[in-house]
Amino acid sequence: MTHTPRRLALLALVVVAAGALSVSFGASGLGPADLWRFFLGEADPTTRSILLQLRLPRAALAALVGGALGLCGCTFQALLRNPLAEPYVLGVSGGAAVGAVAVVVTGIGLRLPWSLPLGAFAGALAAMALVLAVARRASPGRMDTRVLILSGVIIGAFFNAVILLLLSIADVESFRSAIFWMMGNLSGADWGSTGLLALLLVPAALAVFSLARAFNVLSRGEEVAFYLGASVQRVKLTAYLAASLMVAAAVAAGGVIGFVGLIVPHAVRLAWGNDHRLLLPASFLAGTAFLLLADTVARLVLAPAELPTGVVTAVAGVPFFVALLLRGGRR
């Protein structure tokens, strides 16, 4: 616990460095020197507008989505007492994808500017409400963890079938853009979507941070947590609602970006242990840094074309995680 402030400060530095890197490089060929001139107020109008309208909002969105996914992964792992849980485990991504794909396939997405993220958000919320309703109905008064996982997996599978159904009736162009959205990318970033995400994220993240000690006792089992004074049902419901809201917002803004929520909390666990007072904020910051870097790579590898960010997180994240596991196993 005494290391907490120092470790979080270290991570915050990494986030700042990743942010600077992300803003410094891009398809337009502006480099770190231009960024420096921008900060000194000496940049020309084109540089200013590229940085202010494109790179900064994109970096901010990557940071928020990455942080949200890292924090949610950690929260779902604590809630379900399962180290393999990730933000999408409870069908939230499936619901979001149904919403987004429906908007794309029906052509609404071309006519109304905000309809795709809104559709994704509505789908995610609907999925979450459905999973929660089933779990509470099947295990009255106690929201059984196994029932929650099962209903999440089943409802997720149903949504996947609905997505395939929608895609099979879609024309080529909307098929392509729907698939691209599902692979996760942040190219739609602007200050509006970033600001909205931040607005949802802040209260939900604060609610989760306030549960850090409750997650610690909950990790010893619900009976032990009860004896230690935790209001188990209230903690579980709060965590579920706050985390699902964050995932819904993150998916709406950035599509389905996998692996961040699974890998980031695990990396922090392996390095610094399982005290949620450190683990939760550290997962947020590490998720932020990880997605900033992944998105930078996604923009650069095929420049001026872009890779979906979700592809980069998976391709880069998996070997990194395997290396961590092997190192942890030897310890």
Partner: protein
């Protein structure tokens, strides 16, 4: 909510009256019309065969289960009227077993005992750390403070769990088979610790299969059999060959503890071999 000096002298009586509980889909009640009280400065041992309802009784007393009949009170208040944290400040429980997918260190584990003393945004202070250090020292786990629970022996883990309950600083302590997995020395150490806590004014209830240590250390015993209180009283009065043979369905003798020591003469149960004449 912070434990004040005044509340640390609070010595409530935890009392269960006519407690009955039937598990869902069970035919027979697990606990049937059992009354008992855990009083300050007293050590009560609950004994009885497997499946007698000892653990269910503990869960009823701790609020983890709600009795279908009868009620539990803490001094004059119904246990169900207490908030979760308020209850944890009054009653600490060491359940039979627990597991976690996330490894923690002994210090983190014992620190969890402070949960009810701290608000959600409150950081643990010097007093919390002192209480945790003291609890670890009393349970002889201070030397492993920074090790992970998974690296410890079963007995060491068990002592860490008891230390966590002590860090709760609750005036009532309920333990479910705390000596399971402990070797001879630590079984003795544990019962001595329970005696110390009793002398400090705590009300202690311990579920145990060790009739002999229960007879030497407890003030009173409660013998449960198929959910019912079969016998109760001081060890001398209650541990008779007849009642034990009937409850355990096994031939045995009850002999006085040969001494030396202040507990010389305490009734000791010796089960006989089946093939002995």
């Amino acid at each position: 909510m912070r434990g004040t000096a005044a509340s640390r002298d609070w010595r409530p009586v935890l009392e269960g009256r006519d407690l009955s509980f039937i598990h869902p889909r069970a035919d027979e009640p697990a606990v049937c019309r059992v009354s008992l009280s855990v009083s300050p400065g007293r050590l009560l041992a609950v004994v009885g065969p497997n499946g007698a309802g000892k653990t269910t009784l503990l869960k009823l007393l701790s609020g983890s289960l709600t009795p279908q009949d009868g009620g539990v009170t803490l001094d004059d208040r119904a246990l169900s009227d207490l908030g979760d944290r308020e209850r944890a400040l009054a009653i600490a429980v060491v359940p039979q077993s627990e597991s976690s997918p996330f490894p923690v260190t002994v210090r983190e584990m014992v620190g969890m005992g402070r949960y009810a003393h701290l608000g959600p945004w409150e950081r643990s202070g010097d007093r919390d750390r002192a209480v945790v250090d003291d609890a670890m020292a009393r349970c002889a786990v201070a030397e492993f403070a920074e090790r992970h629970l998974g690296e410890l022996s079963g007995g060491e883990r068990q002592r860490a769990r008891i230390a966590r309950a002590l860090a709760q600083e609750a005036p009532v302590l309920l333990l479910d088979e705390p000596t399971a997995g402990l070797d001879l020395r630590y079984r003795m150490e544990l019962f001595h610790l329970l005696r110390e806590l009793r002398a400090a004014g705590l009300g202690v209830l311990v579920i145990t299969h060790d009739l002999n240590l229960a007879a030497r250390f407890a003030d009173r015993l409660l013998l449960l059999d198929r959910g019912r209180a079969r016998a109760r009283g001081t060890p001398d009065g209650m541990l008779s060959r007849e009642s034990l043979e009937a409850v355990y369905d096994w031939p045995l003798r009850v002999v006085p503890h040969p001494g030396p020591g202040s507990d010389t003469g305490a009734p000791q149960t010796v089960p006989l071999r089946r093939d002995d004449p």
